[in-house]
């Protein structure tokens, strides 16, 4: 019996339900100091002076540091480098030295005994800035361009010249981001005697962050131990290396005391990576039958004030993934990465795809109307068919070739349309005061980014199976999933498996949890390591039982002789084998390493591409401009669901976040570059009142050929096409000829669209 595919309760749940999770700010160290960051109140200017005299006089303040106290020239480097552009001039300094470029940029740090007093002192730091003109609209012609990328193939100009129909729209995607419910936190605990440093709070890519921190501090990386902690949501933003991730460990070493920084929500909203803000001018060329001849997207990407750890990965993903599931003979995606005086940007769940899917799918709906074709039929004609998969696109992304590796896109579209009809999505009658709209969008996701993940599996003398994964727990349920994979490979109950993640001492070669990679790449590494342990257990059992290996099998946590009913002579438990494999256990041969354990590395050079369809039904009140999402369906091909309940949870949660970006959430700025969304009153994340029950059709019809489990990622398929489906549904409700122009579709925007349609 396989534990893969079972709806097992999550290992993580009991501790979290009892309030016994270990989130960053739940951990404190004796003698700990607290840090408060002083941030720029101006969007752009020359930093003349920071006077820390008064702040330093506040009782209990241990230090106030500015850029002048730091080693010169410290910047946060790019983690995800895209070949080509040199971004070194656009990287963010740890503390601003002479120029400030956005409101919220770190200027100084106050450290003291009491966090309340630190806040008092931070307000006493006198900031002298000569303000400069701000750039807030990336479309301004003279706005600074950090990079320009082009991805594509074929003769696009010829395709457009030969087209029967050319359809164009413009679509702006609003600035929003992951905004996990737990703000960030870093605790650094120095040991003066050994020179070592214990760090709590660096999630997502702890080994990368450890190595980077070591380099910046001039410290051997093995002297830094990043501990695994619970994380209150990741979504791309948490766990990237930010200025605070250097400052707090540096201060702890300098002061010789533990230092903790716990971000508050106001600073989170201006400090953590923003995302998504793009302006698409997209066009498609069609023949007389509605078949796509060419696709051309010209994108302006607002990256905020600096290039952070993601470099230009989000803009690259945008144009690389834009053709989606369609047969596109000629394609050109051009994207200009512009710097503005706003919070710098990075990835947010389905980076580049939420944006690109919205632009492409909205264009297709406008095109279907112009070509007088059914919207689903237009898609069906252009989807790559099963016979065309695997489909190699002459595009690289994140350093990998883009090969759509598995699936039957038309079958999934048909299934989604059938399911929507079965559930009555198109049978909603007229309702007083509202207009109903139906919107559908297709998309391709990506998952399982390599190049490697490492896992160690060890059986202890109690018979427990310990998994040490390079993945990290960010709320997705990775402990449960990896336990199921290990149990399956090893032939034990999942309850016998304990999973450790995010700890650099336990797994020094981990590549982290991001890009929907953990189940695919991390899970495959666990599968390989657990399979190796199983083989080793059989080998040792053969010696103990004096039997031939081929006569043995693993069953319920023991190795047994096939067909032998005598449990004394024919059965040895994993616990007994682990004892036999101990240094003095009596069964090791010369030169063999002790222990019943294995380390394995799963390497993969290509990503695997799940896909799906979203269907939204909205009710729009043209009087108020309010959009209510009344029904929502996600159909998604996941290859193989290790735990279907968790896949469903990922999809539902993704939809909720997508609705935020489609309808409510926006980091807006006034003309001086002052952020206007600085509390949860202005930054409107959806509540249960805005998120409808989500219908799901999870398919396991197209196992991935790229990994031993056949799995594909589930983390981003729920959010990918929400902007697209909602934009299409609202357009349908309002009966627009063109597109909706921008997301989020706030009431004011919807009113504008309605009035413009009326000829207002």
């Amino acid at each position: 019996m396989s534990s893969i595919g079972a709806r097992l309760p999550r290992i993580e749940d009991p501790r979290l339900l009892r309030g016994r999770g270990r989130f960053g700010d739940d951990i404190s160290a004796p003698g700990q100091l607290w840090a408060r960051i002083v941030r720029s109140p101006c969007a752009h200017g020359h930093l003349n002076d920071l006077d820390t005299t008064q702040a330093a006089k506040v009782p209990g303040i241990a230090a106030v540091v500015t850029a002048a106290d730091l080693p010169a020239g410290l910047v946060i480097p790019v983690r995800l480098a895209v070949p080509g552009p040199d971004l070194s001039r656009y990287l963010q300094p740890v503390l601003a030295r002479t120029t400030v470029r956005y409101v919220g940029e770190p200027l100084a740090v106050v450290v003291g005994e009491d966090p309340y007093a630190c806040e008092d002192a931070a307000e006493l730091v006198e900031i002298d800035i000569s303000e400069r003109a701000v750039v807030l609209d990336a479309r301004t012609p003279d706005s600074p361009t950090a990079a320009e990328l082009i991805r594509g193939y074929g003769d696009v100009d010829a395709a457009f010249a030969a087209a029967r129909h050319v359809v164009r729209i413009e679509l702006a995607i609003g600035r929003h981001s992951g905004v996990p419910l737990e703000p960030r936190c870093v605790l650094a605990v120095p040991d003066a005697d050994t020179g070592s440093l214990d760090i709590f709070g660096l999630t997502k890519v702890p080994v990368f962050n450890r190595d980077l921190l070591a380099r910046m501090l001039g410290l051997d990386e093995m002297l830094i131990h990043v501990h695994g902690v619970d994380a209150g949501g990741g979504f791309g933003v948490r766990g990237e290396f930010y200025p605070e991730d250097f400052l707090i460990p540096w201060l702890a070493r300098r002061l010789g005391r533990p230092v903790k920084w716990a971000e508050d929500r106001a600073e989170h909203l201006v400090a953590v990576n923003h995302s998504r803000q793009q302006y698409h001018r997209i066009a498609a060329a069609f023949d007389g039958d509605g078949r796509i001849l060419g696709l051309d997207d010209d994108v302006t990407h607002d990256n905020g004030a600096y290039c952070r750890t993601h470099g230009v990965a989000v803009p690259e993903l945008t144009v690389a993934m834009l053709p989606g599931p369609y047969r596109v003979p000629a394609y050109r995606g051009r994207i200009r990465v512009v710097l503005t005086n706003k919070t710098p940007c990075g990835t947010y769940r389905a980076p580049g795809r939420f944006e690109g899917t919205a632009a492409r799918e909205h264009l297709l709906d406008v095109a279907a109307d112009q070509l007088a074709l059914d919207r689903i039929e237009l898609r069906r004609r252009n989807l790559l068919t099963r016979d065309e998969i695997p489909h190699r696109r002459p595009i690289a992304t994140l350093g990998t070739d883009l090969i759509l590796d598995t699936g039957d896109y038309p079958a999934l579209l048909a299934a989604a349309a059938r399911e929507a009809d079965r559930l009555g999505y198109r049978a909603l009658g007229p309702a007083p005061g509202v207009l109903h709209g139906f919107g559908l969008a297709m998309f391709v996701e990506k998952s399982g980014l390599g190049p490697q993940e490492t896992a160690d599996v060890t059986v202890s003398r109690s018979g427990a199976v310990h998994v040490y994964s390079g993945g990290t727990s960010v709320g997705q349920g990775i402990e449960t999933v990896l336990a199921q994979i290990a149990a399956d490979a090893l032939g034990v109950e999942p309850g016998a498996v304990r999973v450790t993640t995010g700890d650099t001492a336990a797994q020094p070669f981990g590549a982290g949890s991001w890009a929907s990679r953990s189940t695919v790449v991390g899970g495959s590494a666990v599968h390989l390591a657990a399979t190796a342990v199983r083989q080793r257990a059989v080998q040792l059992a053969a010696r103990i039982l004096e039997a031939a290996e081929q006569d043995l099998e693993v069953c319920d946590g023991a190795v047994v002789v096939r067909g032998d009913p005598d449990s004394r002579t024919a059965r040895v438990s994993l616990a007994e084998i682990a004892a036999a494999a101990a240094p003095a256990g009596g069964y090791l041969r010369p030169g063999e390493p002790a222990g019943l354990s294995a380390r394995r590395r799963f390497e993969v050079s290509h990503m695997t591409y799940p896909y799906g369809a979203h269907v939204a039904v909205v009710a729009v009140d043209p009087g108020t401009g309010q959009v209510r999402v009344v029904r929502y369906l996600v159909a998604y091909e996941v290859g193989r669901a290790v735990n279907p309940t968790l896949v469903e949870g990922q999809l539902r949660g993704g939809v909720a976040q997508g609705l935020g970006g489609a309808l409510f959430e926006e980091f807006s700025y006034d003309d001086a570059g002052q952020p206007q969304a600085i509390t949860f009153i202005e930054y409107r994340m959806p509540t249960a009142a805005e998120v409808p029950p989500v219908d799901l059709l999870v398919c396991q019809d197209a196992p991935s050929p790229g990994n031993p489990l056949g799995v594909m990622g589930a983390g981003e398929g729920g959010v990918n096409a929400v902007g697209a489906a909602v934009a299409n549904a609202v357009r349908d409700a309002l009966g627009l000829a063109g597109g909706v122009g921008q997301l989020p579709l706030t009431p004011a925007r919807v009113r504008e669209l309605w009035e413009a349609r009326d000829g207002g």
């Binding site: 993580e12 749940d13 009892r18 309340y116 737990e182 209150g232 349920g477 949860f680």
Partner: protein, 162 residues
Amino acid sequence: MKDLHQISLRVNGRHHELVVEARRTLADVLRHDLGYTGTHLGCEHGICGACTVILDGQPARACLVFGVQADGASVLTVEGLADGDQLSDLQQAFSDHHALQCGFCTPGFLMLIEAYLAEAGPEAPTAEQARELVASNLCRCTGYQGIVEAVLATARARRAAR
């Protein structure tokens, strides 16, 4: 000069006495002075509800209450819900209905719902009422569906057990 006050409060049935600054929030008192770190701070301005505790029988945002205001009060936090190793029915329903992912907002939801169910009495909420209740707090992971289902399932089970 700090403005210090001696206060006493009962947390999960246990008596505590301590000296706090007037401006110190109940959330910080619980988390950092008394070690009840299950009460989480998500926004510190009363919107997200992650810090919800039951204060003298009423759900309250612990970030909007000062410790001195809770002097003499009885507080129930998430650590007080389970009976030893046995999860409460509501906690179990959360797990059964996949009503949590990262678990950061979960303590606030549990305390909010627990207070609601205690006050609502035998009348189980309708699906609309459950959704309205759940709309009091923010969750960034689940999309709320599991939380709504856990409310309804717990309410049904409690009514059936009467």
